[in-house]
């Protein structure tokens, strides 16, 4: 109804508007012309690379192109699955992501809950403003700052360590492979805690105040209300964010790793994303690298749908 009305407004001259597909399309030429550039953009920059995935199943030759390169079946997949280097890369990726899931995922939730309990309005706003800040600073700079703080010669952390007699010698943090994972996850937490909390802060603000009043009348203290009113009320948001977190378990930010990586920690800092870059673009093993990337994307997709399914069955919360 709405549509015929609009067509009538727009094209009174054509006389046959409102009936049939073609006239409807014609009558909204202006509207369609706004959307099509966007679709065209996605076809070129998203769908054409998807077609390029074919090279994962071929022995890609730059001069032959995607179509004419000879088929290789699953040989590239077999190759990386039996490659000890890749196993090492997979271990690093999973280790950092599991750490991030156990430590980094709850941190913004706790932060939001505590922030909500702050009584001073100005202090609360100040904490919020400061906590969002690192999100807007590039990883090059934030990583550089972390490296400065951890530096053996000028780092404040080493000053504390030596002054408090935790260790007699300054610790070379970035040269110690055992510490890399925790430093990386710690840096990510510090950079992301405030930004990650925004969505929970909004969810908490949406909790019905009457629930809190009722709980208070029943004698619940603040911690009890936090535990039995606020947390259950924002559970939906938490579950949705958890689905996203689980599906990105093979992602480690490329930018931050590239900044913090050095020859001493290469063995523990190489992750799938940096590996795909180095093998693909630096060593120009195009097909092999595409196979690794494709496997990663597929696992992420399966995890997304899997986590979504489990969550829908267990908690009734789901993305789609």
């Amino acid at each position: 109804m709405e549509r015929t009305l609009e067509a009538g407004h727009r094209a009174p001259a054509s006389g046959t508007e409102g009936t049939g597909r073609r006239s409807r399309w014609k009558s909204q030429f202006a509207l369609q012309s706004m959307v099509w550039p966007g679709l065209l953009f996605l076809i070129v920059f998203s769908y054409v690379p998807m077609y390029g995935i074919l090279i994962a199943f071929k022995n890609f030759d730059l001069f032959l192109g995607v179509m004419d390169s000879p088929w290789a079946g699953f040989s590239h997949f077999r190759e990386f699955l039996t490659d000890p280097n890749f196993m090492n890369v997979l271990r690093n990726t999973l280790a950092m992501n599991l750490l991030a899931l156990f430590l980094g995922f709850p941190a913004p939730i706790l932060f939001a809950l505590l922030l909500n309990e702050l009584t001073g309005v100005r202090f609360k706003r100040f904490v919020q403003t400061v906590s969002y800040l690192p999100h807007f600073v590039s990883w090059v700079i934030f990583g550089g700052l972390i490296l400065t703080v951890l530096s053996p010669s000028n780092g404040i952390l080493n000053l504390l360590i030596v002054k408090l007699h935790i260790s007699d010698e300054p610790i070379n943090f970035m040269g110690n492979p055992e510490l890399f994972w925790i430093i990386m996850v710690g840096a990510e937490m510090l950079k992301g805690i405030g930004w990650g909390a925004i969505i929970y802060i909004a969810a908490i603000a949406g909790v019905d105040p009457e629930l809190h009043e009722a709980a208070t009348i029943d004698g619940a203290g603040r911690l009890q209300r936090m535990r039995y009113v606020t947390v259950p009320s924002i559970m939906g948001t938490i579950v949705i964010m958890l689905i996203f977190a689980v599906s990105s378990i093979l992602n480690t930010g490329f930018e931050q790793i590239m900044v913090m990586q050095n020859p001493l920690n290469l063995d523990v800092s190489e992750t799938i994303d940096t590996y795909v870059y180095k093998v693909g673009l630096q060593q120009m093993r195009y097909s092999y690298s595409t196979a690794v990337g494709l496997a990663k994307s597929l696992v992420a997709l399966v995890l997304l749908f899997g986590a979504n399914y489990v969550s829908r069955k267990l908690t009734n919360n789901s993305l789609f």
Binding site: R10, Q32, I53, V130, Y132, F136, I141, I199, E255
Partner: protein
């Protein structure tokens, strides 16, 4: 407000301590770098400069701003930020307006075509080969064109456009306004806050981006500040090369600078613009994130 119990007071004190620690942990790294950037270079290398500059100097900043390479790198970054952000906002808003109209034929199909790209990515190598075919490698446009549109931002803007009552558009149409005119003169002025949020996000992205330059360009003339910084942060030989270069330009200052303090000065100079504009735009971006998360 009800009367606060003793337990509440303990909890409040504990909470303030935790929050203060988070604030201190966040600000401290910036502070130490700022202090270092105002300290004489060789003196800084001796160690022990933490809370306040020991030998104050501005020479690190003078070197940063007098270096030709850095100057050019800032030029690249500023150009891509202005051009890239303007095009991104304009293009994304245009598509979002079309998609926000319920009358649009084929809208559901378009939406599926768009959403699919959010969940599946062709991968680095196919993208690289595409850019190669399109002639985007080693081309300034590689910073601009591939980032012109984002489905995520489109959804944020679209949901904002939807909140405008349909009747306003209808009455404009009765008055004889075409879709483009409605978009430009009616819708855009009404939705400035969300456009500001998108512009901020995209502007920060462009300002901070270095991976696209690293992956798709090799020419020094196309190097943005962040990639330049990346090289001197991660590679000490690059840093000392840069230090020598800076020293050769300013021989009288040469004794005062070291690669380390130059690096800190450059980090601070690059962060400063963001720190200055960020508090003013805070209310916009919070709104932007929330719309995105509710719809996404």
């Amino acid at each position: 407000m009800n009367i606060r119990s003793k337990g509440d007071k303990w909890f409040d004190a504990f909470n303030v301590i935790i929050m203060t620690s988070i604030v201190v942990l966040t600000i401290a790294p910036f502070w130490f770098a700022l202090v270092g950037s105002f300290n004489q270079g060789l003196d800084y290398m001796r160690g022990g400069v933490y809370f306040w500059p020991r030998t104050f100097t501005l020479s690190n900043y003078f070197s940063v701003f007098s270096d030709q390479t850095i100057f050019h790198a800032y030029f690249v970054t500023i150009s891509r930020t202005i051009v890239g952000t303007a095009l991104h906002v304009a293009f994304t808003a245009l598509v979002a307006y079309g998609m926000s109209r319920r009358a649009l034929a084929g809208r559901n199909v378009y939406m599926i075509v768009m959403m699919f790209t959010m969940f599946f990515y062709g991968g680095l190598v196919p993208t690289y080969l595409l850019y190669k075919d399109l002639g985007l490698l080693n081309n300034f446009l590689v910073y601009i064109i591939p980032t012109m549109f984002s489905v995520w931002d489109m959804i944020i803007v679209m949901s904002f456009f939807r909140s405008i009552p349909e009747q306003i558009i209808e009455s404009a149409k009765i008055d004889g306004a075409g879709e483009y005119r409605i978009f430009l003169q009616l819708i855009l002025p009404l939705t400035k806050p969300v456009l500001a949020a998108i512009a901020l996000f995209n502007g920060v992205y462009h300002w901070n981006a270095y991976t696209d330059a690293m992956l798709f360009t090799t020419k020094e003339a196309l190097e943005p500040v962040q990639l330049f910084l990346m090289r001197i942060v991660t590679d000490s030989s690059e840093a000392s090369k840069f230090g020598e270069q800076a020293a050769s330009v300013m021989p009288e200052e040469a004794k005062q600078i070291s690669p380390e303090t130059l690096k800190l000065a450059m980090m601070m100079a690059t962060t400063a613009p963001i720190l200055v504009i960020y508090p003013f735009l805070q209310k916009y971006f919070v709104k932007g994130v929330l719309i995105g998360s509710v719809k996404g």
